[in-house]
Each structure stands twice: as C-alpha cells, then as structure tokens.
Amino acid sequence: MDQVGSGFSDFLQFLFMGLQRGSIYALVGMGYNIIYNSTGVINFAQGEFVVFGGLMMVTLTMTANLSIPLAFLLTVLFVTLIGVLMERFTIKPVKNPNVLRLIIITIAVSILLKGMAMCFWGKGSHYMRHFTGSDPIEVFGATLLPQTLWIIGILAVVVIGFVLFFNHTMIGKSMRACAINRDAARLAGINDRNMVMLSFALSAGIGAIAGIIITPIIQMDYTRGALLGLKGFGAAVVGGLGNSFGAVAAGMLFGIMEAMAAGYISSHYMDAVALLILLIVLFIRPSGLFGSADAARLREF
C-alpha cells in the first residue's frame, strides 16, 4: 500500500478506537448529568451502576444461558431497581438535603455497592462473549470489531431515546422543568420527589447499558467502578454539568483525542491528554464547553 493510503487507514483505525472509547465516557457522563439535574449533586455511585450492569449481564448470559436481548433487558431492569432503591432508602429520607450531605451519601452507597458486588461475584474478573462474534470488519484498510459497532450504535439509540423522552413526553418535560426550577415546577403541580426517583432510575439504567456493552471487551470486576466513573465525570464536566448532549460531545472528544495522542504522539501521554483538556476547559470556561455561564452561577455546586 502506498504511503498516503496507509496513512489514511491508520487515521481511520485511530478514529474507530476513539469513537469506541468516547462512547463509553459519553454514556457514563450522561448518567451523572441526569441525577445532577434533578438533585444538584454528583452521584459517586454511578460507576457502581456500570459494574452491576456488567456483572449481572455476565451471570445471565454465561451462567444462566439466557439470550442476549433478554439478558440485556433483565439486567437494565435489575440495575434500574437498584437505582430506585438507592433513592428511596438513602436520598429521600434525608430531612435537610444539602449538596454536601447528599454527595457523602452517594459515596457511602458506592462503597456499599462495591462490597456487595464483591460478595456476590467474588474478586476475580468476569468476561462474556461478544454480542455477535468477534470477526473483524474491514473498512478502507482499517478494521473494527462488531462489538465496537454495537457500542456506538447503542449510544446513538440511547441519545435518540433521550431526545424523544425529554422533548416529547409529559414525564420528560416535567423532569426538565424540575431541573430548570424546582420550586416553580412544584407550584405547577409536578411531584418533584418522584422526578428525583425517576432520575435515579434512568441514570442507573444508562449505567447498566454502559456496563453491558463494554464487558465483552474489557471484562468486569467489582473494583472497576471508580475508574470508569472518573473519565465519564471528566466528560460531564467538560461538556458542562447538567448538559447531557455536552457530555456526549465531550466524551467523544476525550476518546478521539486520546486515540490520536496514542497513535501520533505516544501512548505514554494518552491519559494526560484527557486531563489536559479538562484543565484547559476549567481554566477558560469553568461552566464547560456547552454549559451556560449564567446558569452555572445560579447553581449551588
């Protein structure tokens, strides 16, 4: 192959890698934002939702031998239930909810969930088969695994589902109303408590989806939560906290920049790239790339 052609296929290869990494950051980042919008806090147990999603999927497909679509559905429901229980038992009963108190509660829940995952699934790492085989697909000299297509495709479905839900359903609109102004929403007759519960449910569901689609590639163990949560949190911050589409864009930016850095500079600096972007954005635009500076000023956190 001539120099130009091979250069292009390399670039494409790096791009695929970046899109795959970015999709995962984006999904985790979206999860943070949903809860942030309804409660104003960062849910530190978000990474644990991802872990539970991955581990439950492994159990259902590899041990219980369920088909992938059925296991997918059951896993999402299971983790959504965990999210709901978390809200009902740890967030709702708090008498004077302030940001610091709630954040500390989510940290406690994350430790608890991590311990539970260790007890149920043990300390080893678990793997599962790729959804549809692992034979690579060739595109202009670059290759990608079918699982990468699944990851990017499922992210797209989730994003489209979100747009429809938040813009075209009553519940979605109510949730947005609560995010914009909780008191006003309550005066308009929206039960804001239920919206908080719903946001935990949605956020847990998205976390579970992220866990399910990456487990065939990275395997899953009970300690993964913090690591997975970190980059997703970075994406949420860079995209502008509370802005789910910002998180998707920022997650993709992180993923692609990291892959390009690994390809063209050196893989030793790959992780530094994400941190560099995070720092630059925090210095220049503390409200994030897509966040509104005015809205950020009104926030408690």
Binding site: F14, R21, Y127, Q219, S266
Partner: protein, 381 residues
C-alpha cells in the same frame, strides 16, 4: 457484686486450667502471617491465607511438628503499608511469633525490613520485587521468582528463534512499569532491539492505535507485559489488525480467565510462568511434579477455585518455616541460619538459598507455557 466477682474469678480459673490442659504436652509453635486478605491486592492475599490455613490444618491433623501444634496468627494488611507495620508489631510483641510469612505486596514487604531487623525475627516475603532481598538483609527472604528472570526466559527464547526487532506494550500499573524497565534494561544483553515502546491504562478498551504503531515499526514479535484483565484485549486487537507476529506475555497472564477472555486469539501465545499453572502437562519426572500436583489437587478440592502462583508462595514460605522448626526448633536466630542454607523443592521452583542469595531461585523457576484449546500447557521446545 461480690458474687459476680467471685463467679468471674472462678470463670477465669476454669479458662486457665482448660487452656493448660489443652496445651498439656508441648508448647505450640507460633508463626505470623501478614497477607493482603482484603483490599485492592486481595487476589494475592486471599489464596495465600487459604493456603496457609490448609497447610496448618494438614500438619496439625498429622500430629503437628514433633508433637508441637503449629499455631498461625493471620493478620490482614489490606495491602497497606501502615497496617502491615501495625500487624507485625502485634505479631512480634503480643503473640511472640518465631517467624513471619508474607506480606503479599512488594511495597509492604520493603517497608517491613527495618522492623524485622529490629525484632530479630525472620520474614519470608511472598512478593516478587528484587529490591526486597537486594541488598541482602539477614532477616528478610523471599520465595516469589524475580521479574527479571521472566524477561530473561522470553529473550532467550527469542534468541533461539532468531527474533531481533521487537515491540513492547506494557500496562501503566506498578507491575507493568517494572516490567517495562526490565525489558529495556536487559534488551542489550540479549542483542534485542526494541523498535516500539507503547503503554495502556488498566481501564483501556482498545489498543489498536498502539498496535498500528508497533506494526509500522516493523517489529518481528510483541511482548505484552501487564497483570490487569485489559491485557486480554491485545491478542484480540492483533487478530483484528491481522498483525501476525509471535505474541509473548508476562507471567502476569498466568490466570486461566485471561486466556478464556481472549478466546481464540490467545491460542499459541507464549508466556513464562510457574509450573503450577500447567501441572497437567508437566513431565512426571520433573523434580517439582509431586509438590505442585499435591498442592493443586488439595487446594482445588478444598476451596473449589483455581490454584494460583500467589497461593503457592504461601505454600513455599510456610513449608520453609516448618522445615526450619523441625530442624532447629523455635529459635528465630537458628531459623534464620537454617533458611540461609536451605534447599527446598517448592511450587515456585527448586530453591537453593545462600547467605548472599535470599531468593534462591533463578530463571529456571519459569517454564515457557502456551495456550492450547483455552488451557495452559508447557511449550514443547
């Protein structure tokens, strides 16, 4: 009130008498264990604790060491330096142990060296770092083979196959970094040229960018040095990129789950590991055969879990202490002297300790293994 005090006193007396009766014949031998049973290194500490408990039970069921029961005091370091220090203090001052086995991690082992020197109690570490026994401290030993010997084993094989130009890809954890340094340091000695040097983080999901660079650098073989599950992605990505060069892994690959996760892509890769990982294909004439076979069968039957090299380190260190107790009795100084000249066939290899070499293993502790039908087998030459 008076009655309560009387009853309590009576109770204490009963306890004392009964404990006397229990230890009527001979004083028990006390050995301390410091393992990372919980925490981030629990995958090391847990099999070690299980192994130590299993061996102690076997010995005591068979009547102890010359009639002395073996009493283990197991402390959990949680993989943390401070807790390891506290644990050793407790073992030395409250329990009067005659020797300590563990800790599980290199960092915690190194930090305990001054404590062992002060307490004058021998310690046999289950961690791998060479700096634990180099420079030699008279009281500190280790039973895990050296990382550099794993590198030597790989480079030797490459020399035999005529491979000169290689790529390396390492995880960014302590294990990966140490391996990367060793690979670079020893390359010259074996006339090997590292044409590409790449890394990945434990949470990474795709290494194709790094592999494209390794491919473009014209490497004839690739070494993937890591201990995290993410290493299983490398063979899969190589297959995806049709990068058809021999793949070598580190001994950090010695976990059957990693091979299962990499699936078909892992077939034929080569890695150095302790022989305990491939007992079924080990020749019965091998000096270690009986030891590893017995340990593997007992452990897997009792705990219903795969045997690991890490648990094997506890096997080796505890048996060394037991041999010493048999030979010289419960005197720490004499145990130390015994260990310095001990010869012992263990799970990690055939040990030959000397006052200058407190590890006692060389590169022959590693066998080259390969993956065949998802199982680890000894590589035919």
């Amino acid at each position: 009130m008076r009655r309560i005090i009387l009853m309590a006193t009576a109770g204490i007396f009963v306890l004392m008498v009964s404990s006397l009766a229990f230890a009527a014949d001979k004083e028990p031998y006390k050995v301390g264990c410091v393992f990372a049973v919980t925490g981030k290194a629990s995958w090391l500490g847990e099999p070690q604790k299980n192994t130590a408990e299993m061996i102690a039970k076997q010995i005591n069921d068979a009547g102890g060491i010359d009639g002395h029961m073996l009493e283990l005091y197991i402390e959990d370091t949680q993989g943390e330096n401070n807790r390891a220090k506290q644990a050793v203090k407790k073992l030395v001052h409250s329990h009067d142990v005659v020797a300590i086995i563990g800790p599980s991690r290199s960092g915690t082992s190194k930090i305990l060296i001054p404590d062992m020197q002060r307490a004058k109690i021998p310690m046999i570490s289950c961690a791998a770092a060479e700096s634990i026994v180099n420079p030699v401290n008279p009281w500190v030993f280790k039973v895990a083979p050296n990382d550099s010997d794993a590198v030597r084993k790989i480079y030797e094989h490459m020399n035999k196959k005529g491979i000169e130009k290689i790529g390396i890809i390492t995880g960014t954890t302590g294990f990966g970094n140490a391996g990367r340094n060793q690979l670079k340091e020893l390359a010259g000695e074996y006339k090997i040229n590292i044409a590409a040097d790449e890394t990945y983080a434990p949470g990474d999901t795709d290494m194709t960018a790094q592999l494209v660079n390794i491919k473009n650098a014209g490497a004839q073989a690739l070494i993937n040095w890591s201990i995290v599950p993410a290493q299983s992605i490398v063979p899969q990505n190589m297959k995806q990129l049709k990068l058809d060069i021999p793949l070598y892994q580190s001994h950090g690959f010695a976990n059957v789950k990693y091979a299962e996760a990499a699936g078909e892509a892992a077939e034929g890769l080569i890695f150095p590991a302790s022989r305990i990982m491939a007992v079924d294909t080990l020749s019965e004439d091998h000096p270690q055969y009986n030891v590893v076979k017995e340990y593997k069968d007992n452990y897997e039957k009792k705990y219903n879990d795969h045997v690991s090299t890490f648990g094997g380190h506890a096997y080796d260190s505890l048996h060394l202490v037991v041999n010493a107790l048999k030979a010289v009795g419960p005197d720490p100084e004499k145990i130390r002297e015994y260990l310095e000249t001990a010869n012992f066939v263990g799970t990690a290899g055939v040990f030959k300790f000397t006052p200058e070499d407190h590890c006692g293993l060389d590169k022959e502790a590693f066998a080259l293994l390969t993956v065949k039908d998802g199982k680890f087998v000894v590589l035919g030459e």
